[in-house]
Symmetry: C2
Subunit: 407 residues, 2 copies
Amino acid sequence: MKTVEGGVCAAKGFWAAGVAAGVKYQDRKDMAVIYSEAPCVCAGTFTSNVVKAAPVLWDKEIVEKSPFAQAVIVNSGIANACTGKEGFACCQAEAEAAAKSLQIPENSVLIGSTGVIGMQMPIDRLQAGIAELAAKKEHSAEAAFAAAQAIMTTDTVDKQVAVSFEIYGRSVTMGGMCKGSGMIHPNMCTMLAFVTCDAAISKELLTKAVKESVADTFNMISVDGDTSTNDTFLFLANGMAGNPEITEEDEAYRTFKEALCFLNTAMAKKLAGDGEGATALVEVQVKGADTKEAARLLAKSVICSSLTKAAIFGHDANWGRILCALGYSGAAFEPEKVELFFESKSGRIQICKNGSAADYSEEEAGKILSDEEVTIVADMHMGTETATAWGCDLSCEYVKINADYRS
Amino acid sequence: MKTVEGGVCAAKGFWAAGVAAGVKYQDRKDMAVIYSEAPCVCAGTFTSNVVKAAPVLWDKEIVEKSPFAQAVIVNSGIANACTGKEGFACCQAEAEAAAKSLQIPENSVLIGSTGVIGMQMPIDRLQAGIAELAAKKEHSAEAAFAAAQAIMTTDTVDKQVAVSFEIYGRSVTMGGMCKGSGMIHPNMCTMLAFVTCDAAISKELLTKAVKESVADTFNMISVDGDTSTNDTFLFLANGMAGNPEITEEDEAYRTFKEALCFLNTAMAKKLAGDGEGATALVEVQVKGADTKEAARLLAKSVICSSLTKAAIFGHDANWGRILCALGYSGAAFEPEKVELFFESKSGRIQICKNGSAADYSEEEAGKILSDEEVTIVADMHMGTETATAWGCDLSCEYVKINADYRS
């Protein structure tokens, strides 16, 4: 497996575009399309929030009922959430416009929106944007980049990854883009992510691979504990690599899933590291938990702790807050067995042994915590299960961004 | 029922003191005692965190097994949490010192600690502090004030309330003090709170009243979602009011419980309003939920939402974040039925109707959100259950305080 360029356009037969349609923002790209030359097998996971945005409701139906999907229309600026029937009618209008411009069936059009909740969408601008996207779409890295830019909100960088690998002797390519910076606490998943792939794979196995991979990647990140109304992960596979269709959990399936997990982990880390106001990507590795569920609970509890996050922002080795967060996670363990370590490119030190302070240098700990990527390792000594979660520190900038988001 | 002065010294027979013992802070009071002339019936609730501080383990045993309690020794600066056997031995030494100085049984001494986690306690200073507390203790409002000051950490004001009321024709007084500003997400409860009362009441009914009252008061506040290792609520009743002992759930019990709920609500609001960095006390009233549990989940979810809190700090009527937080609370409801209102002394406006934007003035909303006490009302239209939760906004100051707490 090797990483390649091209994001959602890396795989054969996928085209993209990004344009400035003036949905809400005035001076930047805010609409994107992903289009496949061939019909795609499709799988998706969506927010667990009771309040689901209109595009989430639309996509769930397409993923469950449509024979195939062939395009995704995405806008930033307005989330089309809490918009009632008018919001759902807007999805319908977008799908109609896309079907006409791209000459594909209406029920093969998926939709994603991200931005302010509660505001209605300007349908005419969306329709004009879709026509422009259809005209501009290309199978190129530049087009994938434009699409990745167009879906950003408070993101500071575009987020793309792509890999190529072999199955059944054929070269297959898988590429993705995602966005998200605040309201990030996936369950499933607090952001928009789109993956394209030219492999042929059955809908059943694609759905299984997506579900399992998302549980260990996007669902293990948190920026602020707020599970969004719009979380959407969509996977489109168009089969244009020419491989025999994957229909069993064989070597080819395992290779495919490994590539998917690599891609999703890379995208999840990009989201966490670009959390609103973040100065550091924080990784929490839990080892020695007694169950997988406990390992996940423990890792997510630490990554969500405001006090731990603020301490990391301050480069302060306040490990008691980490032990405290493990303690209120809901998982059972024996505090006096816990060992904690800090790791970064600057080194690795033990900060807690048998649940009490280890003999460490505050200066060395401060140095490790000053790096851009910091890992907290918690060894519970209760069993053999592990889990990893990703997040970021909590800075004043996060508050500033969110005190004034709509203005 | 009327409010009176005197905090934990308001009730007959209760003495207090606060001194500067140099436990960790150098220039301020950091140790307090509450002492009763007569042995007390005692009830308590403690943190649900798996990682429990040594004083929590100590107090749980006293509350469960001792025939009575007669004093509480509290220190700020060091939490005596994650301190292993040495930490528990320190509680033992404190109880011994207090028993000697106050001439009461060792197993009638309760202990509370708050401050940095993971640091060992300086036993000699604590012992000296206890001797000084015993010598200085008084039955006076000044002494109660000194004690309330001594238990503060990042609190900006002391927190005391007291009320007097009648049961069985006798005047009874109940007074409390509490502290807490960060690591506030009680379950039970993220802070230290101590209530004294001169009523005579059976241990069984006192325990019941305390448990039920805490569920609706301290357990409904959140500053930062971090459930502390040290949460402790203790109630001491010495019977010196001379009333016939309350042993049944009669009118006297109901009056007693009403007073307790009033006191606990007042203290809980003081904690929430003095949350680290807070500029506003936020109250969330959920109405029309289908179950009490759902009402509590919904109210706590909104009060815990970082994005909602940051929006209130910015005086931004971003109600979509409130609906979003209701949506991920875990409670089931129909989004299109929800109504949202903002209330303060400046007025009341509806911001969301049938799950979509209501027609309101942003200017008016901003004015309401600029007040020091802001109420969010969420009417779910699913049933008749209600719950109220309290918290505060999220400011840059919160991050600053917690990025640099230990230094």
